[in-house]
Amino acid sequence: MSKLLTVIVASLLAAGPADGHLLQGARAFRAGRYAEALVEFKVAEKLGAGPDARAYAAAALVKLDRPEEAVELFGPKPASDPVLEFYRALACYQARLFTCADRALEGAMGRFGRRVEEEARALRAQIKRTLSAEIQPEAVDWYLRHGEEALQAGQPVLGLLYAAEARALGGRRKDCHRCADADALQTKAKAAAGAGEAPR
């Protein structure tokens, strides 16, 4: 994704002490050295880079197949940049947060470049197929369990998104399987995350 480098270089126009690390991270990212990119983005964040550094680090985590950490790092709100939002959608998708992924892609459609747009459409079609199957109670239970575990592990955003996914999937069933549990978990996760709004 060379778009990411463009985004980062553009952000460097407002230069700061962490710029060199952001640039190093972007170069490493483009070269496929994602571990190095992650480290550089995290160092940049430590040295005072803006919140985008977190999102870049999250994108590197997606590439490193660490989607749960990526979801947590992206946070509950949509990314301002469509490329980063695409990575957030990928993180959600890889973490089996299909509703989260679909909403992220839906919100950014029309702002992607042509190639990303095509990938986003293909991903949404895949998500639609996945969600078209009958929702089993075990699936809802799985999300609630992982939500609790995420909260216990100090990952409130991930916990919140799992709870939201459980609520969305449970709500698709006639019996609204464990909807009340999902609502309660969302409330708990919001309190833990300090998030005042529902995740998208």
Binding site: A35, E36, V39, K42, V43, L47, L64, R66
Partner: protein, 479 residues
């Protein structure tokens, strides 16, 4: 020595990660502030269980601040845990432990435990093993507890923590630690840990045991090879043994043992044997070094007639040397024979033995040299003998195998009128192979096959004896 064995098992189990452990080229312009940020990122990744990204961060921290010991130590630890490190001290210590040079291993690894910082688990395991072998139990425990916190070294560390507990007399705690190692480890380490757990449970302060045996002896009365009755001296045998052991302070300290044995022959009743005896002594230990002093008394009946009694004082010990485990034994035994025809054999017997051993408690090769002098009132039944011996012990999949062989060359003190006024000179070749297999925590089965070939300058004293037997041993700890 168990150390080299455990080390090989642990090393073969350790995995290697894709971490770049090549030499780090320092940056032209050091930047300690940025290096600190990399260090913190590396620590965070390390806590997440991501050694690959942590290593990337630590390498950059080292590059930007080559003088930073913290960054170097963290990178080195990661590389060691992944098996990628080129760590000369560690490699030297590993070789030293494998070859039993524990002082050298302690010297190589000691500095890592002298300063601040947390040594890696692999070094802690090696260091702990070395200290254990040298008898520094307190420091060994600290190092092994550190090694026990890492999944890659936890099982081997638990084995040695169990051995420490055993040495301290806490057999219950030792058994629990061996169980833990046996439950987590795979293959040979698991099997040995389970064996050690069984042994630890036997390492009680008051134990009783009983054995029943059956077998065959081809030459009960040591009939000469050239006589026509030689083939008629064989007989089936059966018997039982009971014994009790008391050691109120565990392996180290005072102890007492008493026992009795009956061994009957099916047909040759004159050689039915009864034995009763007891011993009391004190065992001193320092690490693996040990010294034991013991007094013993026993009495033998043959054909249910009193045969002999003896009082014995014995001193024996073993010491770990850099190249082997050295042992020595001296004893003095006052023997008195009851039957009129053998009373002339009464008198003191002095024994001595030196040995060198390699290996450990489960697998060991021991070379020894024994000597014995027997004094009696009649010179023709005094003797001096000596000769080399070897004992090999191995823990195999199907049990414990022991092979023992001894050569004895004996010269008597004077011409014997009973044998044509020649000074008897005998030589004995003895060999025995035994196999033990635990059937449970308290039951062991034992199979034994052995023999003796006796040579002599008196032809009628040459004989061959072969024997074999099967025993079932029950052991129970009462305290």
């Amino acid at each position: 020595m168990i150390a080299a064995w455990a080390l090989s098992l642990w090393a073969s189990a350790a995995g290697a990660g894709p971490i770049d452990c090549s030499k780090v080229e320092p940056a032209r312009s050091p930047d300690p502030a940025a290096a600190q940020a990399y260090l913190e990122v590396g620590d965070a990744e390390s806590r997440q269980g991501r050694p690959d990204t942590a290593a990337v961060a630590f390498r950059e921290a080292v590059r930007l601040d080559p003088a930073s010991p913290a960054a170097r130590a963290r990178l080195l630890n990661l590389c060691r845990e992944s098996g990628e490190a080129a760590d000369e001290d560690f490699d030297r210590a590993t070789r030293a432990v494998e070859e039993g040079r524990y002082e050298e291993a302690i010297a190589a690894l000691g500095p890592r435990f002298a300063g601040e910082g947390r040594p890696d688990a692999a070094a802690a395991l090696l260091y702990g093993i070395s200290l254990y072998e040298r008898g520094d139990d307190a420091r060994a425990k600290q190092a092994l507890q550190l090694a026990a916190q890492s999944p890659g070294t936890a099982d081997a560390a638990s084995v040695f923590l169990g051995l420490l507990a055993l040495r301290a007399g806490s057999s219950d705690q030792a058994a629990a630690l061996f169980d833990r190692a046996g439950g987590g480890a795979q293959g040979e380490l698991a099997r040995t840990a389970r064996d050690l757990a069984a042994l630890a449970r036997r390492d009680v302060r008051l134990a009783v045991s009983a054995e029943v045996e059956g077998g065959y002896d081809s030459n009960v009365d040591q009939a000469p090879d050239r006589t026509p009755v030689a083939g008629l001296s064989g007989d089936l045998l059966y018997g039982a043994t009971a014994s009790a052991l008391l050691r109120p302070f565990g392996e180290t300290g005072p102890y007492a043992v008493a026992g009795a044995r009956l061994r009957n022959l099916r047909e040759i009743g004159d050689y039915d044997l009864a034995w009763a005896g007891g011993a009391a002594g004190y065992r001193f230990t320092h690490g693996r070094d040990e010294l034991r002093v013991e007094y013993a008394f026993d009495a033998i009946w043959l054909g249910y007639q009193p045969f002999s009694t003896a009082h014995q004082l014995q001193l024996d010990g073993a010491l770990d040397l850099p190249f082997a485990r050295a042992g020595a034994l001296v004893s003095a035994r006052a023997e008195r024979y009851s039957a009129p025809q053998i009373q002339k054999y009464s008198g003191p017997t002095f024994d001595g033995e030196v040995s060198l051993a390699w290996g450990g408690s489960a697998t060991e090769l021991k070379l020894r040299y024994r000597g014995q002098g027997h004094r009696s009132e009649e010179a023709e039944v005094r003797w001096l003998d000596h000769g080399p011996g070897v004992r090999a012990m191995a823990a195999l999949l199907w049990g414990r195998l022991v092979v023992d062989a001894q050569v004895t060359i004996r010269t008597y003190g004077a011409e014997d009128p009973g044998f044509g006024d020649v000074v008897r000179q005998d030589a004995y070749l003895d060999g025995v192979v035994s196999l033990e297999q635990d059937l449970g925590k308290q039951l062991t089965v034992s199979l034994c096959v052995g023999g003796r070939k006796a040579f002599s300058n008196v032809g009628t004293l040459e004989y061959t004896r072969l024997y074999g037997g099967l025993g079932l041993i029950f052991t129970a700890g009462l305290w």
